[in-house]
């Protein structure tokens, strides 16, 4: 009997073949799943590696040490040390003289011009101007300063410009490479941490551009968004969850909020443009308007997060408060909302992280202006960090791509920190009922 069963239809060659096929199919299916996970992770890895690879060099910058002579006849011919005179004096000439005396064998005009191009023209002149303006006693003396090199020289030293490429395809000429090699050999060229990237606003020259203006603009817009969307969002969620009667109107509000969460962000930008700018006449490019648009955009996120946080609080809390004589409002505000606070906070942080990375609505309300100063108030034109990345990525030069990648690294680090804080708060403060 048993022998017969073992050689039943399940043990024939055909059946075993079918079984093997099914098992193979099962394995293929499983490996397809693993492959999909691997592909997704590989894309994430590729993205991070390519951004960090192009961006990390922007955190360093090459500086040239030069000796400048602040001759009185050039800067202050009348000897009055007058502030206006010191501000408007020809510092460009001072830098040029310093370079010509370092390379006395360069005499032709084209050579001189090319020589001046190895330092950052406006960076170096502004630096000397600042020093003299703050300390007029420097006039007539000889000082040694370090000035940023031009972005082309910086890129050359970072290895992004191919020395062996034909000279006409290269942004630095053979002679310039020769001079750079001389100062490198003489130890006059140093590589330092690029503090300017974190303290300066945007500039026309990549070697002088920084993210500080954009970061301040982003912070201002986010503060406005936070002050708008968190109180209103929490209020709306508390109302819908605890106070609203169940009728057509509240159903409508609810559907409305769910749909608002799915509206493309650029449409919020159009709303901002039509309503805040054209109808109410608020200033273009201002963090106030940007913040209001971002606030409205994150409102649904915060409402939905708050509602689920409120729902997670055990009903026994409300029952307990009511049975001790609290009114409904007291039970909600004194007991339920504080217990849901961690969830509300987590939702708000995630909403703010979302707002920080958003670009499209800010383009609509004109926060793409070229702003070279750190904004001082929420009514002034400003940029925002993602918009700054967009602006820099539009420029063709290699140095801008490097700056944009570095700004992305900063943006991603901030977002990772925000999300980590949110996850930490959730795991630390969350209560299970």
């Amino acid at each position: 009997m048993s022998a017969e069963a073992n050689t039943s239809i399940h043990q024939t060659d055909q059946a075993l073949g079918r079984l093997a096929k099914r098992k193979a199919k099962e394995n293929r299916f499983r490996y397809a799943g693993i492959a999909a996970v691997v592909i997704a992770m590989a894309m994430l890895g590729w993205l991070v590696v390519s951004l960090v690879g192009t961006g990390y060099t922007a955190f360093f910058q090459h500086y040239l040490t030069i000796t400048v002579t602040l001759s009185e006849s050039d800067l202050d011919p009348h000897g009055a040390r007058d502030a206006d005179q010191l501000r408007t004096a020809n510092y460009r000439k001072v830098i040029q003289q310093a370079l010509y005396s370092r390379f006395p064998d360069v005499t032709d005009r084209r050579g001189k011009r090319a020589l001046f191009q190895i330092v950052s023209a406006s960076g170096a002149t502004n630096q000397v101007r600042q020093m003299v303006y703050q300390d007029p006693d420097l006039v007539g003396r000889e000082i040694t300063i370090t000035v940023p090199t031009s972005d082309d020289v910086d890129q050359l030293l970072k290895g992004y410009i191919d020395r062996n490429a034909p000279a006409e395809l290269r942004k630095v000429s053979d002679r310039q490479i020769e001079w750079v090699d001389q100062v490198v050999a003489g130890g006059e060229l140093t590589r330092e941490f690029n503090w300017r990237f974190f303290t300066a606003a945007d500039s026309r020259d990549p070697e002088l551009a920084g993210i500080a203006g954009a970061v301040v603009g982003s912070l201002m817009a986010l503060s406005v968004a936070f002050m708008l969307s968190v109180p209103v969002g929490v209020g709306a969620a508390v109302y819908l969850e605890e106070f609203a009667p169940h009728n057509r109107l509240t159903d409508f509000i609810e559907i409305n909020i769910n749909n608002l969460a799915a509206v493309p962000s650029i449409v919020f930008g159009l709303l901002g443009l039509a309503v805040f700018l054209n109808f109410f006449g608020l200033p273009r490019s201002a963090p106030l308007v940007g913040g209001m648009v971002l606030g409205l955009m994150t409102l649904p996120t915060i409402i939905i997060a708050t509602r689920s946080a409120l729902r997670a609080v055990s009903p026994s809390i409300i029952d307990g408060a009511l049975s001790l004589g609290a009114s409904h409002t007291q039970a909600v505000f004194h007991h339920k909302v504080p217990l849901a606070a961690s969830g509300i906070l987590t939702g708000s942080i995630i909403g703010m992280a979302q707002a920080l990375g958003e670009t499209a609505p800010l383009l609509m309300i004109g926060m793409v202006a070229f702003v070279t100063e750190i904004p001082a108030s929420i009514m002034e034109p400003a940029s925002a960090l993602p918009v700054q990345i967009f602006l820099w990525s539009d420029s063709a030069e290699r140095a801008w791509a490097e700056r944009a990648s570095a700004a992305i690294i900063v943006l991603l680090l901030v977002l990772i920190t925000l999300n980590a804080v949110a996850i930490f708060l959730r795991s630390r403060l969350e209560r299970r009922w």
Binding site: R22, K25, E26, F29, R30, G33, I34, A35, A36, V37, A40, M41, M43, L44, L47, S50, L51, P231, V232, V234, G235, A236, V238, Y239, A244, F252, I253, N256, I257, N259, L260, A262, V263, P264, S265, I266, V267, F268, L270, L271, L273, A274, V275, L296, T329, F333, A353, G357, T359, A360, L363, M364, I389, F390, A401, S405, I408, L412, L415, N419
Partner: protein
């Protein structure tokens, strides 16, 4: 110091100080009056509610004065304003003094006020939607005054440059949006073509095969993809993926521009993988375990159970997930602005540069704008199309998902 003395800040300071004083006054009043052995009645509300009520009354009156002053600005001399503010607030204090007896139901009034404020908060969400609809419709109507709606929806030629002067040649501007819709459709198709299979397989793997630990690490990792700002994806597409595809195609002797539908679409596909995988994961998990157990008990392998039992049961939900992903892809802006191209191009070839609705909105509205030209108004018409389309997709998706949930509950 000068900036602290500007009228707005002074007015708000008076307002806040008045409200705080009123709070303290009302609360003190309630305490002192409750201690009087009047007619033996117990106080109805605790003192702080009397305080809140008083603060509200004074603030309300003061805000009313400010509102009146701004509506009829100029009717009275400037120096009258502080006097009126202070007078109105004093009136508030007199009212408080009259009203606040121990039997006064301060708590009920305050709670009704709180309820009203909360209702206004949820009204903001509704107002936002109305604002969006009204501004889009209003500006679009102005656009359709200049360009017939049929030409807009069916025209094959998109070149929105309108003439700045009468005598310019070839700058009449034509607003046929079909190439834009086609471009949007193509990029979305590429994105779904990439994200659909990958997202679905990830969902299947995580819900049916992965161990609990693998799931706990892989799922958040995949969801990171959804948290990366779109500007970062756009930059990645422009700087890395576009050139990579171009070089790859050059290896086969093809010439593909750096900005192409395939570059933008594939990066967008990576971005929407988590949307499809998370939503499908939820849907697959919602299929009752009994279906799974029944199939496995009959000897089916896991993959057979998946493809023949669970997948058909979860299909409506998965379709819903795909629709939500499509709506996300259509509304996505930065990736396509940076990696897809600006010029309208009616083509079926994904290796060419195409443009999308969102790209056109951005390029029409950045830069110089006069607000009456057909060029800027066209952006609102495109925005309206975008809004309606994503809204319809979302409503259908939500209906499908909801209906599907009801079946198993």
């Amino acid at each position: 110091m000068q900036q602290f003395l500007n009228p707005e800040i002074l007015t708000s300071a008076i307002l806040i100080i008045g409200a705080v004083t009123a709070f303290l006054y009302g609360r003190g009043l309630a305490v002192s009056r409750a201690q009087l052995p009047a007619d033996g009645a117990r106080a109805h509300s605790i003192p702080s509610y009397h305080g809140y009520f008083s603060a509200w009354i004074v603030a309300f009156i003061a805000v009313g004065v400010i509102a009146l002053w701004t509506t009829f600005s100029g009717a009275l001399p400037e120096f009258m304003f502080p006097a009126m503010m202070l007078g109105a607030m004093a009136l508030g204090f007199i009212i408080i003094n009259r009203l606040l007896t121990p039997t006064f139901r301060a708590r009920n009034h305050v709670e009704r006020f709180v309820g009203g404020v909360l209702m206004i908060c949820s009204g903001v969400a509704v107002l936002t939607t109305f604002g969006i609809v009204l501004s889009l419709v209003f500006e679009s109507l102005r656009f359709f005054d200049q360009v017939p709606i049929l030409d807009f929806l069916t025209g094959l030629n998109w070149s929105p440059q309108t003439a700045l002067r009468e005598d310019q040649i070839g700058q009449s501007g034509s607003f046929g949006a079909v190439p834009i819709f086609a471009g949007t459709f193509m990029i979305t198709a590429v994105a779904i073509f990439i994200a659909g299979p990958i997202g679905l397989l990830i969902a299947v793997y995580l819900s049916e095969y992965a161990t609990k630990r693998t799931r706990a690490t892989v799922k958040p990792m995949v969801e990171i993809l959804a948290g990366i700002p779109t500007i970062v994806y756009g930059f990645f597409a422009l700087l890395t993926v576009g050139p990579a595809i171009r070089n790859f195609a050059e290896g086969f002797g093809l010439s593909v521009p750096t900005q192409s539908a395939i570059a933008a679409g594939s990066v967008m596909g990576v971005m929407i993988i988590p949307f499809i995988s998370s939503l499908s994961d939820d849907v697959i998990n919602a299929v009752p375990q009994t279906l799974r157990d029944g199939s496995l008990a009959l000897g089916a392998t896991k993959s057979e159970t998946m493809t023949k039992v669970i997948f058909p049961a979860a299909l409506p939900g998965i379709i819903g997930a795909f629709l939500l992903a499509v709506s996300r892809a259509i509304g996505e802006t930065m990736i396509v602005v940076m990696a897809a191209g600006r010029a309208a191009n009616l083509t079926g070839n994904p290796f060419e540069a195409v443009t999308t609705v969102t790209v056109q909105i951005v390029s029409l509205l950045t830069g110089d704008q006069e607000f009456d030209s057909a060029k800027t108004l066209a952006a609102f018409a495109l925005g309206l199309v975008l809004f309606v389309f994503t809204l319809v997709l979302n409503i259908i998706a939500l209906l499908i998902v909801r209906k599907y949930r009801e079946r198993y509950e």
